[in-house]
Symmetry: C2
């Protein structure tokens, strides 16, 4: 029988730690007999559903509406935008048969839905009155990944939201890109405590069919970044390919300007697990925890009834305040229960023994600091406050950890050392346009790292020369290993 607890330290062997947490906390199962496909179990799905809610709330607040588009995209749509088809074709699963009949046209299982949405946009949009059009769907997409798959981080079917917006002007589209980054910040950083860098990707790493892409890089404990929500300025390329035109106020026909945005909920969960967890297992933020409070009764034969009744009463009171709370009534020992709920990352544990029944106090234990707090009887509203502080602590801890993992590299020697110490390097670089690709290839080949891009949130001015070729630097870039 496998050991129940996590047997490695997160900082020492992140890869093994991550695998153990996923298995032992029952987040996902890789034993489904299809390579690269993951079964997501309730303990992660309950969290992902809450992350969906957070994003959908933000998106609706800023004028997006939900829709459901077909998962299957006829090949003829898929091939309309040349760059896009080139970028995605190597990753497409194709439906070619129905029952025992070959289909007349092969159907792509959507790897992303531009070519489904925009087909309809060309029908729906006629006039400036129809703009802006801002729609999203929560959906899964399928990509025949050739890179190594890891649950939550990269699998061949993953869970995301995709927003597809159309505007009358370039300026409005650029404003939308900023708003998308702000949505990412609000959900990822403010709500979930996941720090990230919004980076304008180099020309060779942008989304297939876009003018430019802003990716959000968050960091894993092993020093590799993962791309979190990205937003793409599509310009008018798709509009021209699909004929998405409108008549403006002066009765002139024009192409729309487009953006798209894609937070991958399953991958954000990877960062949640990796960043907040510790050597005892998961730590879910209070805001998305499947259970926010676990109540553990501590009794002997004589006190059992009283203790259990009190626990149930507390659960009811917390539930009535909208707090997700349960009593652990299994036959395990209190010690086993503590251990299990720590592994599973429940933010708050309330322990109730006969003493707590008699004096009416609550003993509250915090998952992150393992601190114990005494609460007055019925001071249940306080639990919300404790939850809020809990999330603030996680956020601040993650932030200062992330900040400590950014370091400037003046030379390639620096770069090597910084990457080896599991950090992201900040360096001056010749160009993120086509002509910089050669220097990027050197980094890729010799340091197994990539040019992640240029800060989009602040302006950083280079003062020296490119860290690779030594020519005048035009950009300050971030360099990291990545998933």
């Amino acid at each position: 029988m496998q050991e129940k607890g996590i047997t490695v330290k997160k900082e020492e062997n992140f890869s093994e730690w991550f695998t153990q947490v996923i298995n032992k906390a029952e987040l996902a199962d890789l034993r489904y007999n299809l390579k690269g496909f993951v079964v997501f179990r309730p303990w992660s799905v309950l969290v992902m559903e809450k992350i969906y809610d957070l994003f959908e709330e933000e998106l609706q607040k800023n004028g997006h509406l939900p829709c459901y588009f077909p998962s299957l995209i006829p090949k003829e749509n898929f091939e309309k935008e040349a760059e896009h088809v080139k970028g995605f074709t190597p990753e497409v699963f194709w439906v070619t048969k129905a029952a025992d009949k070959e289909l007349e046209q092969e159907l792509a299982l959507r790897p992303t839905s531009e070519t489904a949405f925009y087909k309809m946009y060309s029908t729906w949009i006629r006039s400036w009155r129809d703009l802006p059009l801002k729609l999203y769907q929560r959906a899964q997409v399928w990509r025949y990944e050739t890179k190594a798959t890891r649950p939550f981080i990269r699998s061949r079917e993953f869970y995301w939201i995709e927003a597809h917006d159309c505007f009358a002007t370039k300026e409005e589209a650029e404003q939308q890109v900023l708003q998308d980054i702000e949505t990412t910040r609000k959900v990822m950083e403010e709500k979930l405590g996941i720090p990230f860098l919004p980076l304008r990707r180099p020309e060779w790493d942008k989304f297939a069919g876009a003018l430019y892409t802003i990716g959000s890089d968050s960091l894993m404990p092993d020093g590799k970044v993962v791309q979190q929500p990205s937003t793409h300025m599509l310009g008018q390329g798709f509009a021209k390919a699909f004929g998405i035109k409108f008549v403006d106020k002066k009765e002139k026909e024009k192409y729309v300007w487009q953006t798209c945005y894609g937070p991958a909920v399953s991958r954000i969960t990877a960062s949640l697990i990796a960043i907040h967890g510790d050597d005892s297992g998961l730590i879910w933020p209070f805001i998305v925890a499947p259970l926010q409070v676990i109540i553990v009764p501590i009794y002997d034969k004589e006190t059992k009834q009283k203790v259990v009744d009190r626990c149930k009463e507390i659960k009811e009171k917390l539930n009535s305040l909208g707090i997700r709370a349960e009593v652990d009534l299994t036959e395990k020992t209190p010690g086993e229960k503590f251990y299990e709920w720590e592994l599973k990352g429940v933010p708050i544990r309330i322990e109730i023994g006969i003493k707590e029944v008699d004096n009416g106090m609550l003993t509250v234990c915090l998952r992150d600091t393992k601190e114990r707090i005494k609460l007055e009887q019925d001071d249940f509203e306080k639990i919300y406050e404790i939850g809020k502080e809990f999330d603030e602590r996680l956020r601040e801890k993650a932030k200062s950890w992330f900040d400590s993992r950014l370091e400037s590299a003046k030379t390639l020697e620096d770069l090597k050392r910084i990457l080896a110490s599991k950090k992201i390097a900040r360096a001056e670089f010749c160009s993120i346009d086509k002509e910089g690709e050669k220097c990027a290839e050197v980094i890729e080949k010799e340091y197994l790292a990539s040019i992640r891009g240029v800060r989009h949130d602040i302006a950083e001015k280079p003062e020296g020369n490119c860290i690779v070729c030594g020519k005048k630097a035009n950009y300050v870039v971030y360099i990291a290993k990545s998933y």
Copy 2:
């Protein structure tokens, strides 16, 4: 340009009415270039999301937890249960290629997920301690339908929840079937006001691989029934095919007993549209309406500012009470606005002119009765009550309409007349086991109707002879045309 309003009466030409409502209220679009696939637009998706919430809330309350299973099912899984594969193979879309490579094994795009879930259940379930196991997913499924497709009613990709439960005993599984019917009743009847009959399907019409199936039939205005959530007693067939075994308390190895349950949210929306709507268009129940209250300002140049300010203030107050309310600030005339929001089915309209600004009253118009009510200033909580009464009225109206559409047939002549008057017939019948299939075929062929099954909620005793063959009747069945 097409006429804006609905140009036919629901009772006279339901099919055309349904098509017009879907197009004119912008619920869905059939112009996506793939036969049988529908694009669902925000005005229906916002409702479907709420229906999902209602079902998920009920399911979680009775012990189900959410998960996400892969959409693709390896052919070898799919073929494990003989009846199941026979039933579903004619409807499967197959993925055979990824990028330009033929796959080693064809993958079914799930038409339903028994063979995905149960593969894992055989891994997860070991002991009586692991039971019951009750999981569900919200997901879409794909079926290569050969019957005519209609948006919401039947399309080749549809949106549902599927729950898959395992128990130690047959009795528990049978209890689950009852609980599923109760879930259907709570959501469909209590919350959404959609009446239905829970019917045990005849042997020849049960789910492929089940011992028996309880379907829920709701009625369309044209006299055809649609199958709403069905629950299936699977027995131990799948458990044996997939090897889902557990060791019981006496250390004996046994197969589990299984049930599954599948509310199709897109199809429930079809019933919502069809049953509650009227000749002016949609009527959404207050509980799921995308907008519950539309506020229409009525002003001239002089009063505009005051009126608009008051409207915004009302919107804010309603929003702060959790009511979904908007102000219509477009440049249309008040008459055009009334017309449009009636078509779109918003339950409550508040009209604000300068008179309402001055006397602080609210004029509230109800979508269903078109009645006008005067409300005191700031009596905003009252809106909830009005909403609740609104839904009660819809429910009762639907119920009495449904009841009036059930009629007993003593003879085949009766049956013919009843079906022609757009009703469901109640009749005595020889058998719903194999031996009754011949009589069912007569009904099918000569009356284009089917034996929908036997009431599962009440016991009905036959007293005479089979309406078809004249032999002793063993069942009271319901007979209807169907989608």
